[in-house]
């Protein structure tokens, strides 16, 4: 095993024992990036110099919880002094003068920020094809997308170009790329992790979370970034448990809700098979599958695209060329605004700003925004009712494995349906995890989604860990020689 193959757990143990130094580990990771990333293109910005300097300053006998762990950060999370572009021309040269709460916490624990990963512009997309700085490829098949919007982070973890990564999830942007890329992705409960410094897409849905090589690493990273933050009034003032403490407990008698709305036509047959088998496997570990209904599932995508775009239309108004970022001069103020936003935003971002502006317009508000909020409440109640009967809800993460690059770029609606199983979780604000549960005949990873109650990440982590530890899907690695030859 190479150093870059390490999980957080491996790396932490090796560094604490003095077997390797933080610098050696970071160097190994950068070497791997140099070898692989020209093909995958997971990173927008590398932070090599500063990362190695930081690694040097971490001593092995440190009190740091995560000494010298190389972590990749999605490029919509602000890092002080390090370019944060959101994969947009608008912020191509933007260097934040402040640190996001999550990266501040990671640095305090000794993590080394190795670089900023690619994404769909402003996190709007499901394939990382909407980046102004090039597509990210799926390490399992370079002709395919890694999912999105946190495709760069998922691909970086899958290709061992970091030990772990942070992503953000507004409608599935952590879980869907984790599923496509064969890694673990966790979207915490809304409010569990501070959003301070996360460039907002849809503020009521956005949540930062870990993308890792296994479930335990997800728990370790979640420990590091969770907690109340005075800078984010929507972060919950709740005690944060040690998410690793429940790992390894058995799941005998755990009730698994299987929503029938998630197993209907349109789903890829191989995905369905893998997920069905995974449920059977969980049953063999003592869990009890129970068929449930989440009756308003069919309205989730529609409600989501009204609420998320409405918020986005307002959140992205600040990119006006006046204060920072791109400015394209014009003959007057209005002209400058229009030139700047025309040149600065990509097609999908523009589409969503226009959709959201429309939905909030006078005369349409009640028909769209207010109605969508009501649907959101119903979806939330669906989950509340379901969780009266079950402990965890189990579904596929996405209806298909990774699709081919360019396959859906001309059909936004098809692209939006890639998030059909993940969107409800954001609308309800509950936590969800995606973990590998099999491979298709084309050797593409399939993801299993587990959804928990509000602020009960522990139960889904416990179930996911039990599944993972009794299977070996997470041990499989993409073989770059193999994917090369496929081309």
């Amino acid at each position: 095993m190479e150093l870059y193959n390490f999980t957080i757990e491996d790396a932490r143990a090796a560094i604490k024992k003095g077997e390797i130094s933080p610098v050696e580990l970071s160097e190994a990771v950068f070497k791997r990036i140099e070898a692989v990333d020209s093909r995958v293109h997971a990173f927008i910005t590398l932070n090599k110099q500063a990362a190695l300097k930081a690694a040097k300053e971490i001593s092995p006998d440190t009190r740091h919880g995560l000494p010298g762990i190389p972590v990749a950060i999605k490029d919509n999370i602000c890092t002080e002094g390090l370019k944060t572009t959101c994969a947009s021309r608008m912020l191509e040269d933007f260097i934040p003068p402040y640190e996001s709460t999550v990266t501040k916490k990671l640095k305090e624990q000794g993590c080394v920020l190795i670089g900023k990963t690619n994404l769909d512009e402003f996190a709007m997309g499901s394939s990382t094809e909407n980046s102004a700085f090039g597509h990210t490829k799926n390490p399992w098949d370079l002709a395919r997308v890694p999912g999105g919007s946190s495709g760069g982070s998922a691909a970086a973890v899958a290709a061992d170009m970091c030990i772990a990564a942070l992503g953000s999830d507004t409608g599935g942007s952590i879980r869907q790329p984790a599923s496509f890329s064969g890694v673990v992705g966790l979207k915490p409960t809304y409010g569990r992790v501070s959003r301070y410094g996360l460039v907002a897409f849809a503020s009521s849905l956005d949540q930062i979370g870990p993308i890792t090589k296994n479930v335990k690493d997800a728990a370790i990273l979640l420990n590091a970034i969770s907690g109340h933050d005075l800078c984010d009034s929507t972060s919950a003032n709740l005690a944060v448990p040690d998410f690793t403490s429940v790992l390894g407990r058995d799941i005998k008698g755990m009730k698994l809700g299987i929503p029938n709305e998630y197993f209907r036509e349109g789903m890829d047959r191989e995905v369905e098979q893998s997920v069905t088998q995974a449920i059977r496997h969980l049953e063999s570990l003592g869990a009890i599958p129970i068929e449930i209904s989440l009756p308003h599932t069919g309205y989730a995508v529609a409600a989501y695209y009204i609420l998320a775009t409405s918020e986005a239309s307002s959140n992205l108004a600040r990119y006006d060329g006046v204060k920072y970022g791109l400015r394209v001069e014009g003959k007057d103020l209005l002209d400058m605004y229009m030139n700047t936003r025309e040149a600065g935003f990509g097609a999908e971002v523009k589409r969503r700003i226009i959709l959201g502006t429309y939905a909030l317009s006078s005369g349409y508000y009640d028909a769209y925004y207010r109605k969508a909020q009501q649907v959101r409440t119903l979806i939330k109640q669906d989950f509340e009712k379901a969780f009266e009967k079950v402990d965890v809800i189990v579904t596929p993460t996405a209806p298909t494995p990774a699709f081919k690059a360019g396959e859906k770029t001309d059909d936004p609606l098809q692209m939006y349906l890639a998030d059909i199983f993940t969107i409800s979780v954001n609308l309800a604000g509950v936590p969800g995890i995606s973990l590998p549960c099999g491979f298709t005949s084309a050797n593409l990873p399939v993801g299993l989604q587990m959804i928990g109650k509000h602020f009960d990440e522990e139960t889904i982590l416990k179930a996911a860990y039990a599944y993972e530890q009794s299977t070996d899907w997470h041990m499989k690695k993409p073989d770059f020689k193999e994917v090369e030859s496929k081309k």
Partner: protein, 476 residues
């Protein structure tokens, strides 16, 4: 046709908090441009607002003072529009669920007291300032003011005349100053007022088409602008025209209102609840706590001033119109000043001198103890009431104590009969003709003699002693 005006007012009051509405930056006025800013108030990507609890408390206090219902649950909303002084491209304000609703204030105009309803009071953030001078072809933006807390008070369309409108603004200005939530400075813009005004034939229930009037930055201009606008609207209707719904600016220099933008050009602000901020929840305990912190309000204080100090209604009204005046008065009384005398001096000389300088009472250095010292010297016959006016003015200007001024200027009243008698004799001897005329019945000449004597004593003669002596001499 006879028309009546229908006026509703919107008042924006800058709250006297130390820090801004959603970040920790200072709200100090007049600093170098863009020195009181941070990533939050300049709208950097990824930063988040955190509501200022003090500002919320100030709005609740105001609501309590003007008889509002305090909402147990209210929300911030985003008002979306593009402008360079608005860094986020939206203003955080309140829309569907404001903090306070359904209040009223009583105003008196032309001897009639009426209740004016308040629709709502809500909290929002101010914008920055665009500067167009001195930058060549560019405009500059100063974001020091961006994000400072503003309270918006909206009245019902209950106001019927420009005078009532001015009284309403006065009343609310006094109120916010009283409870210490806003300094009420209209020239500097910490209190701003917009009006919605329409006219309708007397007796008609439906409202006419309204115009919105902005930029009235004093009571006087509120009255003048509305007066102008009402006449303008009447003229249009009388000439068979139609009122256009639009926003108009009061032009102080020209004394007219001018069209700024029509309804068609009006923004669609696309209000929606701000997802970055949690709802404001106010429980009874919080309200009770704020109630207990609330100072005695003008109406209650006025009543107390009449009952406790025996002051006439008019005195009590003026003395309680401003908290600082009321407190100055009560301090003077506490230090032993006779309430009616203190009131007379404050309403007379003190206000005259303040008005001459255009000063507020709290800007004056004169302390209540000084007035009480002066009153004692009058009571003890050390100086005459007339001299006291000179002394008061000197106290006001120099800040010296009354007794020091009296001593330095030799203003002690002469009450010694022998001394005064000497002077009386001198004057009478000098003016034999007048003495004759007086004795022939021309009694008003008594004043002439008294004046001559006062002149000779530089006003120091005790008027009572003087008058008695004079009468005695002239009748003998």
């Amino acid at each position: 046709m006879n028309y009546e005006a229908v006026i509703g007012l919107e008042i924006h009051a800058q709250l006297l908090t130390e820090s801004k509405m959603f970040c920790g930056c200072s709200t100090k006025f007049g600093s170098e441009p863009n020195t009181q800013t941070c990533p939050v108030c300049i709208g950097m990507p990824g930063v988040l607002p955190v509501a200022n609890r003090k500002a919320i408390e100030y709005v609740i206090k105001t609501g309590l003072a003007v008889n509002c219902t305090i909402a147990p649950y209210s929300r911030f909303a985003r008002k979306n529009y593009f402008y360079p002084d608005l860094p986020k491209g939206y203003q955080i304000s309140q829309y569907e669920l404001p903090i306070c609703e359904h209040g009223f204030v009583k105003i008196t105009a032309n001897g009639e007291t009426r209740e004016i309803g308040l629709t709502r009071i809500h909290l929002e953030e101010d914008a920055g300032k665009n500067i167009h001078e001195g930058a060549g072809s560019h405009s500059l933006v100063d974001l020091n003011r961006a994000g400072t807390p503003l309270m918006e008070i909206v009245s019902e369309p209950d106001i019927r005349s420009p005078l009532e409108a001015a009284e309403f603004v006065k009343k609310l200005r006094a109120m916010v100053r009283y409870i210490g939530v806003c300094d009420g400075n209209m020239e500097q813009g910490s209190l701003r007022c917009d009006a919605n005004v329409s006219i309708r034939p007397v007796g008609q229930k439906e409202f006419g088409t309204k115009t919105e009037i902005k930029n009235m930055n004093s009571f006087k201009y509120v009255e003048k602008a509305l007066d102008y606008e009402i006449k303008r609207q009447i003229k249009i209707l009388n000439e068979g025209g139609r009122i256009i719904q639009e926003t108009r600016l009061w032009n102080t220099a020209k004394g007219i209102t001018e069209s700024m933008r029509s309804k068609e050009e009006a923004h669609d602000y696309r209000y929606f609840p701000d997802p970055d901020l949690v709802p404001v929840k106010v429980d009874d305990q919080w309200i009770e706590q704020l109630k207990s912190q609330l100072v005695e309000l003008p109406d209650a204080r006025r009543q107390r001033f009449t009952s406790q100090y025996g002051l006439p209604e008019q005195d009590a009204e003026l003395l309680t119109s401003e908290r600082a005046i009321a407190e100055w008065f009560e301090q003077a009384v506490k230090l032993g000043g006779d309430p009616k005398s203190v009131s007379n001096w404050m309403m007379g000389e003190f206000m005259r001198l303040l008005n001459e300088e255009g000063k507020q009472i709290e800007e004056s250095e004169l302390r209540p103890a000084q007035l009480v010292g002066l009153l004692k010297m009058i009571d003890q016959n050390i100086i005459s009431g007339k001299i006291a006016k000179t002394v008061f003015e000197e106290m006001y200007k120099t800040g010296k104590e009354a007794d020091v001024i009296v001593k330095q200027k030799g203003l002690v009243q002469v009450s010694d009969e022998g001394e005064i008698e000497k002077i009386v004799n001198e004057i009478l001897e000098k003016n034999p003709k007048e003495v004759e005329r007086f004795r022939a019945g021309e009694e008003k000449l008594l004043g002439f003699f008294a004046g001559q004597i006062m002149k000779a004593t530089k006003g120091k003669a005790n008027p009572k002693v003087l008058n008695e002596l004079l009468k005695k001499k002239l009748s003998s």
